[in-house]
Amino acid sequence: MSPSAVVQGPASSCVDSQSGTYEVLSPIYSTAGGINSSRHPPLGRSRGEPMSADKAPGEASVAPTEPGPIVAVQHLVKRYGDLVAVNDVSFSIRKGEIFGIVGPNGAGKTTTVECISGLRVPDSGQIFVDGLSPRTDRKKMREFVGVQLQEGALPPIITVGEAVELFASFYRDPLTPDRLLESLGIGELKQKQFQKLSGGQKQRLSIALALVGNPRIAILDELTTGLDPEARRETWDLIEHIRERGVTVILVTHFMDEAERLCDRLALIDHGVVRVLDTPEAITARVGGVRVRFVPSVPVDDSTLRAIPGVETIERKDRYITVTGTGDLATSVLDALRKAGVSVSELEARKGNLDDAFVKLTRNAGPEERDSA
């Protein structure tokens, strides 16, 4: 792992030191965690192994007993002509975790996972998937790596049942198609043609095809893009069920709420390099900063706000002003505005979330430029 590319940090200390300082006055910004419904029965298994998914939701967790990396990516480089899509990316993924690969569009996320799955050949660097090389052991690897592609395209008139049974026939030790479809909540769609499915149903089928081979590793690319909020939340529940079965999940996404909710650790990739790799909490605590929103009693201009220590960005919407930055921001803002003879109402302060951290890490600009943006 190249130390320059990966920001390491003690996660817990950051969280603790900051959570004591800032009072969260309003819960409206808090992320919607804890939705852990088990609407869907556990995923189907064909053979008699006990299912960890039988445990109550929340009880099952990632095995923390120091397992070695199941996927190791070392100094991966991939170019398309002159464009360097992935530039010296290194990370390793632990067995049983949900590992997020996040970043803006065109950052090199998909290229990275395509190299892991063996769909693309890297220009340089090494990849090991459970000790195998995607380049030379492609065939063996495909037995235990399930892939869900960004555009999960099937012949329009194939039915759900036909597609899943077909894919089951490709693998040595597949799950039972009927039970799998049942567990994904699309059991009643067996006779339905692919072209007649809704976006969410297509996505579920796509997950079914990625899982029917009973993989140890599932690569899921832009899983919830194009889904409505309800379908997204249901898909997230499915991913948690997959993890509970002990499957290592590599999740590619550009949705920060998704990464925050699902991932045990994540790598933020931007312009082909890893900007940060850590748990979502640690990244948020270290980089996310603070966000303070208020309504001033009289108009306040930007220069006054920018003069306040710690302020980095200023956003205005209707009557509201939101400043983000670091340090004891709420206190600084209140003090400075009181001195300027401005009183403040509807004050809300919260820690920055992953989204804020993401914006800061991908904007390679100083505070001045950010303000004007």
């Binding site: 495909r142 592609l149 099937l154 012949p155 077909l166 490709f170």
Partner: protein, 258 residues
């Protein structure tokens, strides 16, 4: 779970996957009436030429053959043109365009197996069309044709020839639309050369020679000899083999899975 499967088990599973692929593709072909690709136009042509033959009995241009007898090989080859050029490349280009081949290539099954299943399916469809057209010609319209091993071999070669040209189209076409346009450009010349509008015995001269040495004209001529229990001129077979090899070479050379 990590131990290597025995070779025999892998073979067995590969066979299972292949028959499952073939089964699903057969069902899809039935569902979208793809099965009629090589049947509708040739059957209509057969009826038309039977009717023309009824109105104009007797031999054509001193060939000793009636209109129906002379045109039946042409109609068979037109069926192969329809399947090989209008059906096969469009399906394959679509599967590639929508990412189905790519999706399959993430599984332990290579996409070449999908192609193999598709070729076999189209071969079966061509065989069904051939049988149907011959039954109508012989049993219903009463043409005195014989179907032997020679005919089966030559028809198979003609089908392979058209399929390899179809794979050229599939190889060079970037999309289903493009495949349909490119194939469309081939279809009319190939139909003409197969003698649909005029038979070589009627025109003679240079045009007849061109037709005899064309991909479809050679196939029609070889089939015509074989259904009358005669040995076809070896040039017809050589012509077909040479075209097949050239088409296959180009198809392999330009083939893309993605």
């Amino acid at each position: 779970m990590t131990s290597d499967p025995s070779p025999s088990r892998t073979r067995e599973r590969t066979r299972g996957a292949f028959s499952e692929l073939l089964k699903v593709q057969w069902r899809l072909a039935l569902r979208q009436r793809y099965i009629f690709t090589g049947l509708v136009l040739p059957t209509a042509l057969l009826v038309v030429f039977w009717a023309i033959g009824r109105l104009n009995p007797g031999e054509v241009a001193g060939s000793g053959l009636t209109i129906l007898e002379l045109w039946t090989p042409t109609i068979l080859v037109i069926s192969y043109i329809a399947i090989g050029l209008l059906g096969l490349p469009a399906t394959f280009a679509r599967d590639r365009e929508i990412g189905w081949l790519r999706r399959v290539s993430t599984t332990p099954i290579p996409p070449s197996m999908l192609l193999a299943a598709q070729l076999l399916l189209n071969l079966i469809i061509a065989a069904v069309a051939t049988a149907f057209l011959l039954i109508v010609t012989i049993a219903i319209f009463g043409a005195p044709l014989t179907v032997g091993v020679e005919f089966v071999g030559i028809a198979f070669l003609a089908i392979v020839e058209m399929f390899s040209l179809g794979m050229v189209v599939a190889a060079i076409a970037p999309s289903q639309q493009a495949a349909e346009y490119i194939a469309g450009g081939f279809v009319f010349p190939l139909m003409f050369l197969s003698g649909l509008w005029v038979q070589p015995v009627q025109v003679g001269g240079a045009l007849a020679t061109i037709m005899y040495y064309s991909p479809t004209g050679a196939a029609v001529r070889a089939i015509l000899y074989s259904v009358f229990n005669a040995v076809p001129p070896y040039t017809t077979l050589v012509t077909m083999v040479v075209y097949t090899v050239i088409f296959a070479f180009i198809a392999v050379r330009f083939f893309r899975w993605e």
